[in-house]
């Protein structure tokens, strides 16, 4: 295997210092921290590509030592999405070095660029683009150095396999060219990028660098860290959001085997012990002893949609064209609901923190080391330079789960026990009960068709909480900070503006609608704790729009695939749809066995990233409402494909995860708190319910910009299932999840 390129924990903690040009990260210009949206360009700077906009120094991205080893730095985090491998491919391609010669350093506040959050399918667009361009410019510098060395014009030189070759047959290797701070210069506005037709690394499937370690038990995860002197800690969370710790006698607990300290600060309560199971036993004892004042209740779950929709909202018209009230010959109206849903990481969130000599070091699986650092510094009342956040892989997060919260827990406990590394992992019931959920959403669609079966008018309204309560400086976004004796207030929620959007992400249809109005109703008050989950509002909006398009097609007596093509101009959108139509073998008015249905859906994620179309078939057992997924065929256009198998893996994962969300998942609660606290009360898709097959077809676009892949499939999958259930049963279900009980009720057996 490609051992030198492996991003194992040991390698990540290893700091190469022996070479000539290993330069620690050059400070980035200050600027807004990117959230789910695009990186802003600093005013007055040239429009550099990707994250070079905010971190323009070449040696912020690429270093080379006297042995020819290359270190590539990214501010993005490996979350299991395979970004490490794709970024190594970008660097290897434009640098003309073997992938094995590259070590990748991921997000670290003292070593890598600040690329904000690893979110919104931005990693290839931001970091991949930066590394691609930086690598090309570094290759250009190496060729200039060789030109001087060989006394030849640069146009008689080219790079190959870590060396510069001259037309006259001479060559000089990279390691003999680098001498000092050769790459310590700002990137230029243009890069000598290769012709994509000559690519040998980009566009070819490369085995992921992390998989051999993961299947053999290598220490890959923050959960696997065990530095000398480490203690295990657990946090006693309150019984519900509003509870306050009133009484506690820790005397007996501090005498339990292995217990080192009980840490209490207001209603934040934790225990540290020598052994992990000892910490868990002490946690149970503490939970039993602690007395809480339980104030505050949740809304009635039976009427939660009405309750949320009646809350005050800030309304923004995000599309207004033509005469939205225009009447056709046939009008349709429909309302769609999506419940609170859980990220549901398989491994509860974990962090290791060490407070030593006034410095707080935190190893974390956060999606954003820099914003987490700033937020921890606020919570700890220290300058941010005294906090160092190092990203280490954890269990997949799929958005803002408890990764940042557990880092705060670890930091608070470490501050109380200086000099000892503190490892905190949440318990399953806390991960399920306390993570910030994907917000509940409501949408209402209305449209009119003309007598030729075309959409003449469109009105769409979507109601949602924020999809972004990520830490960004103020401590109140960290769970523990809200329970301290001197509590930090939760910052006011903010919407993510268009064009990317939050609750209104993908709220604007890509279809040609001459008269249209789309209104985003942003609801600040949050009855349940919420934040970003994979796809944000796109999951619900694509489910709604693509269900509604099928309803309109049905009303127009049109084939749903042909109906979509009838309203689409973008050739890349049409291409993924036609690819799926052909690969699936979609036939108009196909005769299907009783109980079988087929469904189709399409979206371009955020209306500006990857294109994805899905066709599937499924069977509905009428007596029970159970769905059995058959074959699923999908096509995706992510622009220039870097690691095709990585894209396939992400899309397969999106389809399976979205099938789980869409068929099963709903956070449950009563007036006293969250009641879905484990995998029996929050069931997800298991092996016997997997689709019969999932075929992913990639439409590669060599030379086109990277579009990102991670969130393209979730919305289309939800709608394809709903459309197939309609095809199978004649029942149109507009509420997620499409559970067996809901389907059985809808078909009235």
């Amino acid at each position: 295997m490609n051992a030198p390129a492996q991003v194992s924990l040991t390698r990540r903690l290893f700091l190469a210092t022996g070479g000539a040009v290993v330069v620690s990260f050059a400070v980035a210009p200050s600027g807004a921290v990117a959230q789910e949206g695009a990186m802003p360009a600093a005013p007055g700077t040239p429009p550099l590509p990707g994250s070079l906009k905010t971190s323009p120094m070449l040696d912020s991205w690429i270093a080379m030592d006297g042995q020819g080893r290359v270190t590539v730095f990214t501010g993005k985090a490996e979350l299991g999405q395979g970004i490490s491998t794709a970024l190594i491919q970008c660097a290897a391609e434009e640098l003309d070095v073997n992938v094995d010669a590259i070590t990748l350093v991921t997000a670290d506040t003292e070593r890598t660029p600040n690329e904000g959050y690893t979110a919104g399918s931005h990693s290839m667009q931001d970091s991949g683009t930066a590394i691609l361009n930086a690598a090309a410019q570094v290759r250009g510098i190496l060729i200039e150095l060789a030109a001087t060395r060989l006394n030849l014009p640069a146009n008689q030189l080219h790079a190959k396999s870590s060396a510069v070759l001259a037309d006259d047959g001479r060559s000089v290797s990279y390691k003999d060219l680098v001498t000092g701070q050769d790459f310590h210069r700002p990137a230029g506005p243009t890069s000598p990028l290769k012709d994509p037709r000559t690519f040998t690394v980009i566009g070819k499937s490369m085995p992921r660098v992390d998989i051999p370690g993961k299947v053999t038990g290598a220490p890959m995860y923050v959960q696997d860290m065990r530095p000398d002197g480490m203690l295990h800690a657990r946090v006693v969370r309150p019984p519900n959001y509003g509870a306050k710790l009133t009484q506690l006698d820790t005397g007996a607990i501090e005498k339990m085997p292995g217990v080192v300290k009980v840490v209490r600060d207001g209603s934040f309560l934790a225990v540290a012990a020598q052994g992990e199971f000892q910490a868990i036993q002490a946690l149970h004892a503490l939970s039993a002893d602690a007395q809480w004042d339980q104030t505050g209740t949740l809304p009635d779950p039976a009427t939660i949609y009405d309750y949320v929709r009646a809350l005050p909202s800030n309304d923004t018209t995000i599309l207004n064209q033509g005469a939205p009230g225009q009447q056709g010959v046939r009008a349709l109206r429909a309302t769609y609901h999506r419940p609170y849903q859980s990220h549901g990481s398989i491994g509860p969130s974990c962090a290791v923190a060490l407070y030593d000599g006034g410095k707080m070091t935190v190893w974390t699986h956060t999606q954003g080391v820099y914003p987490l650092r700033d937020t921890l510094a606020d919570m700890l009342h220290v300058p941010k330079e005294q906090v160092h956040c190092i990203q280490v892989e954890g269990s997949g997060c799929y958005g803002h789960n408890a990764a940042d919260d557990v880092a705060a827990d670890a930091a608070l406990i470490a501050r109380a026990i200086p000099g000892r590394p503190i490892r905190v992992q949440w318990m399953r019931e806390d991960e399920h009960g306390w993570e910030p959920f994907a917000p509940l959403m409501i949408s209402q669609a209305a449209a009119s068709l003309d007598d030729s079966g075309k959409i003449v008018s469109w009105q769409y309204d979507v109601w949602s909480n924020t999809h972004n309560m990520r830490p960004a400086g103020p401590a109140g976004n960290l769970l523990a900070a809200r329970y301290l004796a001197q509590p930090f207030p939760e910052p006011a929620p903010q919407p993510i503006p268009q064009p990317e959007g939050g609750g209104d992400r993908n709220g604007i249809p890509l279809y040609r609608v001459p008269n249209a109005r789309v209104v985003s109703h942003f609801i600040p008050a949050m009855p349940l704790r919420v934040s970003a989950m994979r796809g944000l509002g796109a999951y619900h909006n694509v489910f709604s729009i693509e269900s509604f398009i099928d309803e309109l097609a049905d009303a127009a007596k049109a084939d749903p695939v042909e109906f979509r093509l009838r309203h689409l101009d973008d050739p890349r959108a049409r291409d993924v749809i036609m690819k799926v139509r052909d690969e699936f073998g979609w036939e108009t008015n196909a005769k299907l066995p009783r109980g079988r249905g087929r469904g189709f859906a399409f979206a371009r994620y955020k209306n500006l990233a990857a294109y994805c179309a899905i066709a599937l078939e499924l069977d509905v057992e009428r007596e029970t409402g159970n769905v059995t997924l058959g074959r699923v065929v999908t096509a995706v256009d992510s622009g220039q494909a870097v690691n095709p198998d990585g894209i396939r893996n992400q899309i397969e994962g999106a389809i399976v995860q979205s099938a789980s969300w869409s068929l099963y998942e709903e956070v449950t609660f009563d007036r006293n708190g969250i009641t879905s606290r484990d995998w029996s009360s929050y069931p997800i898709l298991r092996f016997p319910a997997m689709p019969a097959s999932v075929d992913v077809h990639i439409i590669d676009r060599p030379g086109e910009r990277f579009l990102g892949t991670g969130e393209a499939g979730q919305g289309p999958m939800a709608a394809a299932i709903a459309n197939a259930v309609f095809s199978a049963t004649g029942a149109r279900i507009r509420d997620l999840p499409l559970s067996a009980r809901r389907i059985k009720t809808a078909i009235g057996v």
């Binding site: 051992a3 992921r208 993961k214 038990g217 398989i346 491994g347 999106a654 995998w679 298991r686």
Partner: protein, 163 residues
């Protein structure tokens, strides 16, 4: 003190006999593969083999394990020399975050030791206790089929020669 047979090695364990095996593997023996997922026997991230049967190590106390044959992913192979099931998972690129994967590998190993040529339905049923949240299941299923083929071929020289 309890002596456990871990991957063929006798290990002397000082922990409280009520301690579930998972914590002994991770904290006392510094074996990383088995993971804490739920502590409830609902997700399979902690799956190891005991006497050829997959078990939830997060629930099983070490007091009942003396003298029994315990295997973890570390006992199947290494990144340089992976075992056939590990090899199949690498060949199929059957992981994303990978937190569940060691448990998946062990359950698949358990299946193939009982049933060298499982049907698709048998694989899906047998793997049902283990959860993957990244949605890598289609690849995991392919990896199990690939491993079954490879293991059958290596046991059967006639089959091997006829390929």
């Amino acid at each position: 003190m309890i002596v456990l047979n871990i991957n063929g090695n006798p290990e002397q364990i000082e922990a409280d006999p009520h301690t579930p095996l998972l914590y002994v593997l991770r904290d006392d023996l510094k074996l990383n593969a088995a993971k804490f997922g739920c502590g409830l026997g609902q997700c399979g991230a902690c799956t190891v083999l005991v006497d050829h049967e997959p078990v939830f190590s997060c629930l099983l106390p070490i007091s009942v394990l003396e003298g029994r044959y315990i295997r973890t992913v570390e006992g199947l192979g290494t990144a340089d020399k992976p075992g056939p099931v590990q090899r199949a998972f690498i060949d199929e690129q059957a992981a994303q975050c990978g937190y569940c994967i060691a448990g998946m590998v062990m359950r698949a190993q358990g299946l193939l030791e009982h049933n060298a040529a499982p049907t698709e339905a048998q694989i899906r049923d047998y793997m049902a206790p283990n959860l993957c949240r990244c949605g890598t299941q289609m690849r995991i299923l392919r990896a199990v089929r690939r491993a079954a083929k490879a293991m059958t071929a290596s046991l059967d020289p006639i089959h091997e020669a006829s390929k």
